[in-house]
C-alpha cells in the first residue's frame, strides 16, 4: 500500500516502521501485558483490604483513620446491614455534593481569575453530579471556568470521594458474599480505608512518576508565550497538573486539568506518561478482579473474569485500532501513502497508543482521552463505544466488581438451569431475589440511555440545533453522550454544545440514575448473600471458573449489549460506516 518504504540498517527497525499494523498490534499487546502485570501485582494487597487482613501500610494509616473516626464520631465496630450501609453512603454523598455545589456557585464570585466566567447553576449541578459519581463528564474547559480553589477543593476532593465510595461499595459487596452474619459493614470506615490504604498512596506514586516524566506540578500560574510569528500571546495556565492527574487516573475519574484532557502535552507529554496513565487507571479495576477471586478463595473464578474482560478489551482495542489505521476508505483510496486516521490524534502518541488509551478509558469508568474522539472513524468509535454500552465491564474503582457480578449472576442462572441445577454461586444459593435485582441493575443501564435518546431525537429540531455533523454521526454522538453518562464514564465525544441547561440537567439525571440505584440494587444482592450460609461441597461440581462458563459470560454480555442497542447502532455508527464504504465503492467523492 505505502509508496515510500523507510529503510535503515537494522532489519527489525525497518520491519516495524514499514509494517505499522504489526507494530501497532504488538504495542497494544504490550500495553495489555503490562497493565495485567501491575493489576496482578497489586491483587494480593487489594485482597487483604477486602478480607480485612493487616497490610504493611496499616501501621501508618490506622492512627489517621482512627483519629478521623474519633473526630467524626464513627464507631468502626458498629456494622450495618444493607439499609444502614446504603443510607450512610447516600447521605455522605449527598452532603458532599450539596456542600461542593454551593461552594462552586459562590466561590466563583470571590476567587475568579481574570478571564474566567461564573458557572451557571445547571452547569454546576452537572459538574458536581458528574464528579461525585466518578463520571467526570466535563461540559466546560476547566481553566476557563474553575477557580483554582474550586479545582483543588471541589474537583480533587470529589475525585477522592467518588473513588472511595465506589471501592467501599465493593468492600461491602465482597463481605456480603464472604460472610453470613447478615451485615455489610460500616460505610465510613470502609470509605476511609479505601482512601488511605489504597487510593491515596497509589495516587501519590502516580503523581511522582508523572512529575518525573515531565508533567508540571506547580502552584497556580500562567505561562505566557510570545510566539515568534503572530502578535497574539498564548496564555497557558498551569497548576497542580500532576497531582490532579494522579487521582484522575488512579480513581478512574478521568476529568482532566485541560479541556483536551490527556491529549494536551502538559497532561500527557510522551509515551512513558501515556503508559503510566493507562496502567494507573486500570490497576485498581484489574487488581480488584484478581483480588475478588483470591478473597473468595476461588482464584480460577478471578482468572475467568479476567479472561472475559481481556477478551472484551482486546476486541475493543483492536476494533478501534483497525478502524483508525484503515482510516477513511475514501482517503485510503486516493493512492498516496495513507497511514491511517491521524485527525485529532497526538502524533507523538500515535494510533495504537491512542486506541488502547481510548478503549481502556471506556472499559474502565475513567473516560479520559488522549485524542479527539469526534474525529474517529465510525468503526473506531464503535470500538470505543461498545464498552460504554456494556456499562464499563472493567468498571471504576470498586464498581467494576459489582457490575461484572450482576452479569455473572445472570449467566449463572441460565447455565445452572441448562445443567439441571438450581442456580448457585460460590456455594451460595441464588434465589429469585438476586435474579430480580441483577435484572433490575442490568436493564436500568439501557433504559436510561435509550429513553433520553428517544426523547431528544423526538424533540430534535430544538435540542439538536448545535449538532454539526451528518445525521448518522449525530445519533452516534448522542448515544455516546448518554452512554457515557449512564455508565458513569465521562468520556466525551462532543460534536455539539453540551453546556446547555437541557443537556446539563438531563446528563445529571442520567448520571445519578446510573450510579446510586445500580449500587443500591447490587448491595441488595450482597445483603441477600450475607444472610446465606455456604453449602459444603462434596466432590466436583459445576465450575464457575471454567472456560465454558467464561465463554457463556462473554456472549451473554455481548448479547445483552447488542440486543439493547442494535437498532440505534444501525442508524448511527453502522450507517456511517456503511456510508464511508459507499464512498469507496462509488469511486471516491473527493
Amino acid at each position: 500500500m505505502s509508496s515510500t518504504v523507510v529503510s535503515s540498517g537494522n532489519f527489525w527497525t525497518t520491519f516495524f516502521v514499514n509494517n505499522r499494523v504489526v507494530s501497532g498490534v504488538i504495542i497494544i499487546a504490550l500495553y495489555l501485558a503490562i497493565l495485567s502485570f501491575f493489576g496482578y501485582l497489586i491483587a494480593p494487597y487489594i485482597k487483604k483490604i477486602y478480607t480485612g487482613e493487616n497490610t504493611k501500610l496499616r501501621k501508618y494509616t490506622d492512627p489517621i483513620i482512627g483519629t478521623i473516626e474519633k473526630l467524626a464520631g464513627v464507631d468502626r465496630n458498629e456494622t450495618y446491614s444493607f439499609k444502614g450501609y446504603f443510607i450512610s453512603l447516600i447521605i455522605f454523598n449527598f452532603v458532599a455534593g450539596a456542600v461542593t455545589f454551593f461552594f462552586l456557585i459562590f466561590q466563583g464570585y470571590f476567587f475568579r481569575a481574570p478571564g474566567q466566567s461564573v458557572m451557571s447553576p445547571s452547569l454546576a449541578f452537572n459538574t458536581i453530579v458528574s464528579f461525585l459519581t466518578n463520571t467526570n463528564l466535563q461540559h466546560y474547559s476547566s481553566p476557563s471556568v474553575l477557580t483554582y480553589v474550586d479545582l483543588s477543593i471541589v474537583i480533587i476532593g470529589l475525585m477522592f470521594i467518588s473513588a472511595g465510595t465506589g471501592f467501599a461499595a465493593s468492600m461491602a459487596f465482597v463481605r456480603g458474599i464472604m460472610n453470613d452474619d447478615k451485615k455489610l459493614g460500616n460505610f465510613f470506615h470502609d470509605f476511609l480505608v479505601a482512601i488511605f490504604d489504597l487510593i491515596l498512596p497509589l495516587s501519590l506514586i502516580a503523581t511522582v512518576l508523572l512529575i518525573i516524566v515531565g508533567v508540571p506540578d506547580v502552584t497556580y500560574s500562567n505561562i505566557i508565550i510570545h510566539p515568534f510569528f503572530g502578535r497574539l500571546t498564548v496564555n497557558i495556565p498551569v497548576g497542580p497538573v500532576a497531582s490532579l492527574e494522579g487521582i484522575k487516573n488512579i480513581g478512574t475519574n478521568g476529568g482532566g486539568f485541560y479541556g483536551a484532557n490527556a491529549g494536551y502535552p502538559f497532561e500527557n507529554p510522551n509515551w512513558i506518561s501515556n503508559l503510566i496513565e493507562v496502567v494507573s487507571f486500570t490497576i485498581i479495576p484489574i487488581g480488584s478482579i484478581f483480588a475478588l477471586g483470591q478473597a473468595l478463595n476461588n482464584r480460577k473464578f478471578g482468572m475467568m473474569i479476567y479472561g472475559v474482560i481481556m477478551a472484551l478489551f482486546v476486541f475493543s482495542a483492536l476494533m478501534t485500532f483497525f478502524g483508525e489505521i484503515a482510516g477513511i476508505p475514501a482517503m485510503a483510496n486516493l493512492g498516496f501513502n495513507y497511514g491511517g486516521n491521524f485527525i485529532g490524534k497526538e502524533t507523538a502518541i500515535g494510533i495504537s497508543q491512542s486506541s488502547i488509551f481510548a478503549s481502556g478509558a471506556t472499559l474502565t469508568s475513567t473516560g479520559a482521552a488522549n485524542s479527539a474522539l469526534i474525529d474517529y472513524t465510525p468503526a473506531g468509535i464503535l470500538g470505543v463505544l461498545f464498552p460504554l454500552l456494556l456499562n464499563d465491564p472493567l468498571g471504576g474503582v470498586g464498581t467494576g466488581v459489582l457490575n461484572i457480578f450482576t452479569y455473572v449472576i445472570f449467566t449463572v442462572f441460565l447455565i445452572s438451569l441448562m445443567v439441571g441445577k438450581l442456580p448457585e454461586i460460590m456455594s451460595l444459593k441464588v434465589s429469585s431475589k438476586e435474579i430480580k435485582y441483577s435484572t433490575y441493575s442490568l436493564i436500568t443501564h439501557p433504559l436510561i440511555i435509550i429513553i433520553p435518546l428517544g426523547v431528544v431525537v423526538l424533540l430534535s429540531p430544538i435540542l439538536m440545533s448545535s449538532f454539526i455533523n451528518t445525521k448518522p454521526d449525530q445519533i452516534t454522538q448522542l448515544l455516546y453522550e448518554f452512554a457515557s453518562a449512564a455508565s458513569n464514564n465521562g468520556s466525551e465525544m462532543g460534536g455539539f454544545t453540551t453546556n446547555s441547561a437541557f443537556f446539563n440537567i438531563m446528563d445529571g439525571i442520567i448520571i445519578l440514575l446510573g450510579r446510586y440505584p445500580i449500587i443500591g440494587f447490587q448491595l441488595v444482592i450482597a445483603q441477600s448473600f450475607a444472610t446465606k450460609k455456604p453449602k459444603v461441597m462434596y466432590g466436583r461440581t459445576f465450575d464457575i471458573g471454567s472456560f465454558w462458563f467464561g465463554l457463556m459470560l462473554f456472549f451473554t454480555m455481548i448479547l445483552l449489549g447488542l440486543l439493547s442497542f442494535f437498532p440505534i447502532l444501525a442508524v448511527g455508527p453502522l450507517l456511517a460506516w456503511g456510508k464511508s464504504f459507499s464512498l469507496l465503492i462509488g469511486g471516491g467523492l473527493l
Partner: protein, 663 residues
C-alpha cells in the same frame, strides 16, 4: 379427538386478558395484536400504506400474532388436559360407599360421607374401606389395586393406615376414621394436582422477572425506532415495529413456560408419584444428598441362608441335619430359606425330623429360636444371644461370624445343648441394578448415604458393594433425622424416603421427602411426594426428572434469547432498507424487506408448536457430569439457537419466494 377439541376451546378461553396477564410475554403479544388491529382500523391517521402489497402482509401479521398466542395457550391447555386426566382417574378411585358405624357396640349402616374423624367402623370380608383411617383392631390382607394398580394383596396390622376405596380380604376388622369428608388422601391428592398447576415455583418466578426485564428493554428499544425514523426523515410503518417487538421478546420460552410447569407435575404423576407442589419437583433436580434405607432400597430386604460353616469336628451332614431340626417348625423367612437350602444339599434331609418336639419361637428379647425334645434343646440365633445363653464364646465360630458380618452377611450360631455345631450365613441380596443407579447419582455429583440398623461391618460391606459414599450403621429412627439435619446445616439439599411415623420429622425436614403410600398417615402428611407404588428406588427417578425439567427450562430460555440475534439481522436491515449504505448488515441478502420480515415472524410462530412436544416430554439428557452437559447444551441451544433461525428464516424466505409470493 374430543380431547383435542376441548383443548382448543380451552386454549381460546385463555385469550382472556385477565388470565393471560400472568404470562407477561404473551400478554404483550396480545396487546400487540389488539394494537395492530387498532392501527389498521385507523390506518389513515397513522400513515399506514394500504397499497396492494401491504394488504396480504398485514393479514399474515395478524394471523401469525394470533397463532403465537394460540400456540402458547394450546400448549398450556394440552398439558392441563393431561393433568385433568390424572385428577379424573384419581376421582374415579373415590367411590361413595357405605360403612358399618359402631356406636355403643351396635352396628349402623351409614353413608360414607357422614363419617367423621374418630368414629369406628367395621369392615368385613370383600367390603370396601369407606374412607381413610387406621386399623383399630385386627389385621388382614387388603387389595389396594384401586390406588396402586398392584393387585398383590397387602398385609396390614393394628395401627397401619388404610385408604378409602381399598378392599378388605379377610374376615373382619375395625377401623378408626382419621379424615373428615373432603380431607381424605384422595381429596388432598386431587387438590394438590390441581393446585400445583397454578402456582409458580420460585425459580419460575425468577425466570419470569428476567423475561419481563428483557421484554421491557425490547419495548423501549422498538419504540426508540419511531423517533429515530422521524429524525432520519423516513416513515416507519408501525406494523413493522409491532413485528420487530414480537420477534424480539422471548416468545418461545414465554409461550412454553406455563406448559413446562404443568408438564413437570404430569411427568411425576406418570411415575405414579404424586407431588404436592411444583417446588418439590424442582428441588428434586437440585438434590445434593440422597438418604437411602438399606432394606428394600439397596437390598431386596429378604435374608436367605447361603452357606453353612460347621465347627471343628462336625461333619457337613451333621451340621445340615441339626440346622434342619432347628428350623422345620420355624415359619420366619430365615427358617424357610434355611430349610430350602439344606434340602438342596441333602434331598433326604427330612429323615431327621423329630417327632413330639416343641417349638421355641423367636422373640425380639431373646433373639433366638429353636426346638426342645426330651431333654435336648437346639437353638439358632444371633452370636451375641447364643454366647449370652451359653455363658461362653466359641473362639473359632465367633471368628467365622465376624468374617460373615464383614462380608455384609448375617451370621447365626447353631447349638445343640452345649455343643456349638456351627454358623449359618444369611445374605440379604443387593439389588443387581442398584450399583448402576448409584453410579448415575455420583456422576450427577449427588452424595449417597445409606441408613441401616445393621452393624458397622455389614453396613460397610454393603455400602462398598453398592458404591455408596457414606453409611450410618446401627441407625435408630432419630438417626435419619439427625443425618438430614446435619446435611441441611451444610446447606445441602436432601432427599429421602420414609414410611413410618418415626420418619415423619425427617421427611418434613428434607427438601424432597418421598413417602410410601403404604406408610402411615403421619409420614404421608410430612412428605412432599407420595409414591403410590411403594417403590423406594423411585426417589432416583424423581431426581432425574427434576433435573430434566430444569434443563428443559434453561435450554429453551437460552435458545429463545439466542434466536434474537438472527431475527435482528433479518428485520433491522428490512426496516432500514431505504439506506442502501446499511446493506452490509443484511447478511442473508434478502431483497424483499416485507417478505423477510414475514419469514422471521413465521419462524417465530411455528417454532412454538414445534417445541411443544419437547416441552411436554422434556429435553433428552444423558446423566453426565455438569461440565459435559454444559458444553453440550451451550453448543446445541446457545450456538444452535443463533445459527438455526438464520437457516430456517432463509429457507422460509426462499420457499415463499419460490411459490411466487412477492410483496
Amino acid at each position: 379427538m374430543n380431547k383435542y377439541v376441548e383443548a382448543i376451546i380451552n386454549a381460546l378461553k385463555e385469550f382472556d386478558p385477565r388470565k393471560l396477564y400472568r404470562n407477561p410475554v404473551m400478554f404483550i403479544t396480545e396487546i400487540a395484536l389488539l394494537l395492530s388491529i387498532y392501527l389498521l382500523v385507523f390506518h389513515s391517521e397513522y400513515d399506514l400504506s394500504l397499497s396492494g402489497l401491504y394488504i396480504p402482509f398485514y393479514i399474515s401479521v395478524l394471523v401469525l400474532l394470533f397463532l403465537t398466542i394460540f400456540f402458547s395457550t394450546l400448549a398450556e391447555s394440552l398439558a392441563e388436559g393431561k393433568s385433568r386426566d390424572i385428577t379424573a382417574s384419581l376421582r374415579k378411585m373415590k367411590k361413595e360407599t357405605t360403612g358399618r358405624l359402631i356406636v355403643d357396640k351396635e352396628e349402623k349402616i351409614v353413608d360414607s360421607s357422614t363419617l367423621r374423624k374418630g368414629m369406628i367402623v367395621e369392615v368385613r370380608k370383600n367390603e370396601m374401606v369407606p374412607t381413610d383411617g387406621e386399623i383399630a383392631e385386627g389385621s388382614g390382607y387388603f387389595n389396594e389395586s384401586s390406588i396402586t394398580g398392584e393387585s398383590k394383596a397387602v398385609f396390614k396390622v393394628t395401627g397401619d393406615s388404610v385408604t378409602g376405596g381399598t378392599v378388605f380380604l379377610d374376615d373382619s376388622i375395625k377401623v378408626r376414621i382419621t379424615a373428615n369428608p373432603g380431607e381424605t388422601f384422595l381429596d388432598k391428592m386431587i387438590e394438590m394436582v390441581e393446585g400445583s398447576v397454578r402456582k409458580k415455583t420460585p425459580n419460575e418466578l425468577a425466570l419470569s422477572v428476567l423475561l419481563s426485564g428483557l421484554t421491557l428493554i425490547f419495548i423501549v428499544v422498538t419504540s426508540s425506532i419511531l423517533p429515530l425514523g422521524s429524525f432520519m426523515k423516513f416513515d416507519v410503518n408501525l406494523i413493522l415495529l409491532v413485528v420487530l417487538l414480537i420477534t424480539l421478546i422471548p416468545t418461545t420460552i414465554g409461550a412454553l413456560l406455563p406448559a413446562l410447569g404443568i408438564a413437570a407435575i404430569n411427568k411425576v404423576s406418570q411415575f405414579n408419584v404424586i407431588a404436592k407442589s411444583g417446588r418439590a419437583v424442582e428441588n428434586a433436580g437440585d438434590i445434593d444428598t440422597i438418604i437411602l434405607d438399606k432394606t428394600g432400597t439397596i437390598t431386596m430386604g429378604e435374608r436367605d441362608a447361603s452357606k453353612l460353616y460347621p465347627n471343628k469336628g462336625v461333619s457337613d451332614e451333621v451340621m445340615a441335619s441339626v440346622a434342619y431340626q432347628s428350623s422345620y417348625m420355624d415359619e420366619t423367612r430365615e427358617g424357610i430359606s434355611l430349610i430350602k437350602y439344606v434340602k438342596n444339599l441333602f434331598p433326604d434331609i427330612e429323615k431327621y425330623k423329630i417327632k413330639d418336639a416343641s417349638f421355641i419361637p423367636f422373640s425380639s428379647e431373646t433373639k433366638f429360636s429353636g426346638i426342645a425334645y426330651d431333654d435336648h434343646k437346639i437353638y439358632k440365633g444371633s452370636p451375641h444371644a447364643i454366647w449370652d445363653l451359653m455363658g461362653e464364646k466359641d473362639g473359632f465360630i465367633d471368628a467365622v461370624c465376624a468374617e460373615i458380618s464383614s462380608r455384609g452377611g448375617t451370621a447365626m450360631v447353631l447349638v445343640e445343648d452345649s455343643h456349638v455345631i456351627g454358623a449359618i450365613e444369611f445374605n440379604d441380596i443387593i439389588k443387581p441394578w442398584i450399583g448402576e443407579r448409584i453410579k448415575t447419582m455420583k456422576t450427577m455429583n449427588i452424595k449417597t448415604v445409606m441408613c441401616t440398623g445393621d452393624n458397622e461391618l455389614t453396613a460397610a460391606y454393603i455400602s462398598r458393594e453398592a458404591g455408596l459414599d457414606e453409611f450410618v450403621a446401627n441407625s435408630k429412627p432419630q438417626d435419619k433425622y439427625l443425618k438430614v439435619e446435619s446435611e441441611k446445616n451444610q446447606q445441602r439439599m436432601v432427599a429421602m424416603v420414609g414410611d413410618g411415623t418415626n420418619d415423619a420429622p425427617a421427611l418434613a425436614l428434607a427438601d424432597v421427602g418421598l413417602a410410601m403410600n403404604s406408610g402411615t398417615q403421619a409420614a404421608k402428611d410430612a412428605a412432599n411426594m407420595i409414591d403410590l407404588d411403594n417403590d423406594p428406588t423411585k426417589l432416583m427417578d424423581v431426581i432425574f426428572l427434576g433435573k430434566q425439567i430444569l434443563i428443559t427450562r434453561g435450554s429453551l430460555t437460552t435458545f429463545s434469547i439466542a434466536n434474537d440475534i438472527s431475527k435482528y439481522f433479518v428485520i433491522i436491515p428490512a426496516i432500514f432498507y431505504i439506506f442502501p449504505a446499511l446493506s452490509f448488515i443484511n447478511i442473508l441478502g434478502f431483497t424483499d424487506p416485507l417478505l423477510a420480515i414475514t419469514s422471521a415472524l413465521i419462524f417465530n410462530t411455528i417454532i412454538i408448536p414445534l417445541l411443544i412436544p419437547m416441552a411436554i416430554r422434556g429435553v433428552r439428557f444423558k446423566p453426565s457430569t455438569v461440565d459435559q452437559l454444559l458444553k453440550r447444551n451451550i453448543m446445541v441451544y446457545g450456538f444452535g439457537g443463533v445459527v438455526l433461525p438464520f437457516i430456517a428464516i432463509g429457507l422460509i424466505y426462499h420457499l415463499l419466494l419460490g411459490v411466487g409470493i412477492l410483496w
